[in-house]
């Protein structure tokens, strides 16, 4: 499965360009690939295994798929699929659809390479693949705001890149290699060495920048809010979760482990992100900026769960990564629907849209409830696991904070829901209709996933989350 999910998108991109096919052909090819990526996790005999066997005759790649990789592959496939469908609704020209489809395929190859990597330098290379594709995707419409958002992301991300490279060099100096196994051994032998500490802290800081954690969040709101609608789904749903949060999980789980100092850093960074992200979200007037700051707050929960430093904490973090990918993608699809039908995103200019857009309003309400941790939706179970993980790791104060911070989440989402969908219908919005099927169908699909993962959570935990972190 591993090698084929990296190579097939590259081969597809080459086939789509030589000779150059139409945007529609690229769109359907990319959609088919994302669907196949999702299915190949559960059914490797559907071609992925055979292709991997064929490729491995020519290449000798150091890749490995474990339970954590599988969760990320599933999340990436769902988000990319929905994101591309959303993008098509807004793409006016065939060439734009062609570029979007190709770039998303390349970004998917980057995500897959990152989640299967077993080497710190390889991780860095694939993080750069995702970053380069993301800069272009954000700025693809060449609007001033989008270009500025993309440029900010590029500059701040470059700082993180330098830190990661420097960290990889220091680890190489200590371990003689950048492989996970070698670094892990060296950390055990030379853990107290200042170079190891410096390398670890540099790598963590770089990943916190990539993940948009407070105080490194300056690039995130601009990039999310100014990107084209479909790209926002991709960015908010999976990009920062992979480049920042997944890499953080992998770094601790497979490489350096959790020391007391690391746990403290994660607990403090997570708490700050939860509270400050939510407080800023309450004050925002733009639909997508509320969602951007909400992402900072929700990613804070994931980092907080990691701060527990236990298998349950990592499992909770992974479950919230998956849930966040689903409900945040859903909310960005909802914002795309509102933007498509009204041509704006200023939440003070709406009101009563729920009467005109019942599917968008209903699915948004379910996503909000899941994000706020209301049962029986999937977000409730992952937040419950986070709190349990913190409590059992004797981080009771942080567990209480996680519960109380859910009230902030409720506050900004209720405010958004009330201003956009509830209340009296704004007279200017009399002619607004429900969004087209190309937007409501993905919204209903993601909504069904949010409800389904919530109702069937014992199976999700037993079959996906717990085996990934070695809980039996």
């Amino acid at each position: 499965m591993t090698i084929s999910l990296i190579f097939v998108p590259i081969i597809l991109v080459i086939l789509l360009n030589i000779p150059r096919l139409s945007g529609k052909a690229a769109y359907y090819a990319a959609l088919a690939f994302f669907a196949w990526q999702f299915l190949s996790v559960f059914f490797p005999f559907l071609g992925s295994q055979q292709i991997a066997d064929l490729i491995s005759k020519f290449f000798n790649l150091n890749v490995y798929a474990d339970g954590i990789s599988k969760i990320m592959i599933i999340s990436a496939a769902i988000t990319a699929f929905v994101s591309l469908i959303t993008s098509k609704v807004f793409a006016k020209r065939d060439s734009r659809l062609f570029a979007l489809s190709n770039l998303m395929l390349l970004a998917a190859a980057g995500i897959n390479g990152l989640v299967f990597a077993r080497d710190l330098f390889t991780m860095y290379v694939f993080i750069e693949v995702i970053a380069v594709a993301s800069y272009i995707l954000i700025a693809i419409d060449k609007k001033d705001g989008a270009l500025e958002g993309g440029f900010k992301y590029l500059i701040i991300s470059s700082v993180a890149t330098v830190m990661m490279l420097f960290s990889a060099a220091l680890f190489f100096l200590v371990a003689g290699s950048t492989g996970f196994a070698e670094i892990s051994l060296a950390v055990k032998d030379f853990g107290a060495n200042p170079l190891v500490s410096a390398a670890t802290m540099l790598f963590i800081t770089a990943l916190l920048i990539k993940g948009g954690i407070i105080p490194f969040h300056a690039w995130l709101s601009g990039a999310y809010a100014e990107a084209p609608a479909g790209v926002s789904v991709f960015l908010g749903g999976i990009i920062t979760k992979t480049t920042g949060i997944f890499t953080l999980i992998r770094f601790f789980y497979s490489v350096v482990g959790f020391s007391e100092n690391i746990k403290t850093v994660l607990l403090i960074a997570g708490s700050l992100s939860i509270v400050i992200g939510a407080l800023i979200a309450v004050t925002q007037k733009d639909f997508k900026r509320v969602l951007a700051y909400s992402s900072i707050s929700q990613v804070g929960y994931i980092v907080l769960a990691l701060g527990a430093g236990t298998a349950l904490g990592i499992g909770a973090a992974l479950f919230h990564v998956f849930n966040h990918a689903v409900f945040k993608s859903l909310l960005f699809v909802n914002s795309a629907s509102v933007e498509k039908e009204t041509g704006r995103l200023d939440i003070d200019s709406f009101g009563g849209l729920g009467y005109k857009m019942p599917i968008t309003s209903g699915t948004a309400a379910i996503a909000f409830l899941s994000a706020a941790g209301i049962p029986p939706f999937s977000g409730f179970w992952s937040k419950l696991l986070i709190i349990l993980a913190l409590w059992s790791a004797n981080c009771k104060g942080f567990a209480v904070l996680a519960v109380l911070a859910s009230l902030f989440t409720m506050a900004y989402f209720l405010n958004l829901q009330k201003k956009v969908f509830f209340g009296e219908l704004n007279a200017q919005l009399e002619d607004v209709r429900e969004a087209p099927l190309a937007l409501t169908l993905p919204a209903m699909f993601l909504c069904a996933l949010t409800i389904g993962a919530g109702l069937l959570f014992p199976y999700v935990l037993r079959l996906l989350i717990f085996p990934a972190v070695g809980i039996v």
Binding site: I10, F90, L106, G110, G113, V129, A133, A175, P228, A229
Partner: protein, 170 residues
């Protein structure tokens, strides 16, 4: 010991040329300074006994990329004398803290490594296979770099192609 001084000198030159390239207002000079950075990097790579990487750095970064930079710059309009003077003032304000930051970072790194007395685990063992078997050992990294180049090509095509009916969203 003498070689250590050469390394320090080369690294210092690398920093100096990089800063000069970043703060230079004449874009063509900045491109030439970047080529000089690549040239110094080539010497460093030779000194580190990695001739293959050094030749790549010299031919691709110092050679090919500089030619592309200069070709593109020749198609643009340079800043006027007044604009340059204005930019210079702004640049000075922006860069005034740069030496302080460099000194603080250098001091912090010196303090950090002062107490380090361990020898890298496999410093001798790793150099040979890394030199000889780049393709065998790091195939996945090279695949990643191919994807970066492909993404870059799409970026140039999507962002810099001048379409008459521009404006991607309805």
């Amino acid at each position: 010991m003498d070689l250590m001084y050469v390394h320090i000198l080369l690294l210092a030159l690398l920093v100096i040329f990089s800063v000069l390239a970043a703060v230079n207002l004449r874009i063509i000079r900045a491109a030439i300074l970047l080529a000089t950075v690549s040239l110094v990097t080539t010497f460093i790579l030779f000194a580190l006994k990695t001739p293959l990487a050094a030749i790549f750095e010299l031919s691709v970064c110092a050679g090919l990329i500089t030619v592309i930079f200069i070709s593109v710059i020749s198609l643009t309009n340079p800043l006027t004398r007044e604009e340059r003077a204005d930019e210079k003032t702004k640049m000075f304000k922006r860069a005034v803290l740069l030496p302080v930051i460099v000194l603080v970072c250098g001091g912090a790194f010196y303090m950090l490594t002062k107490g380090v007395d361990f020898i890298p685990v496999a410093a001798g063992a790793v150099s040979k296979p890394e030199q000889g078997g780049m393709w065998n050992m790091r195939q996945l990294d090279l695949v990643g770099q191919v994807i970066i180049i492909l993404a870059g090509v799409f970026g140039v095509a999507a962002l810099f192609k001048d379409n008459k009916d521009d404006g991607g969203e309805k």
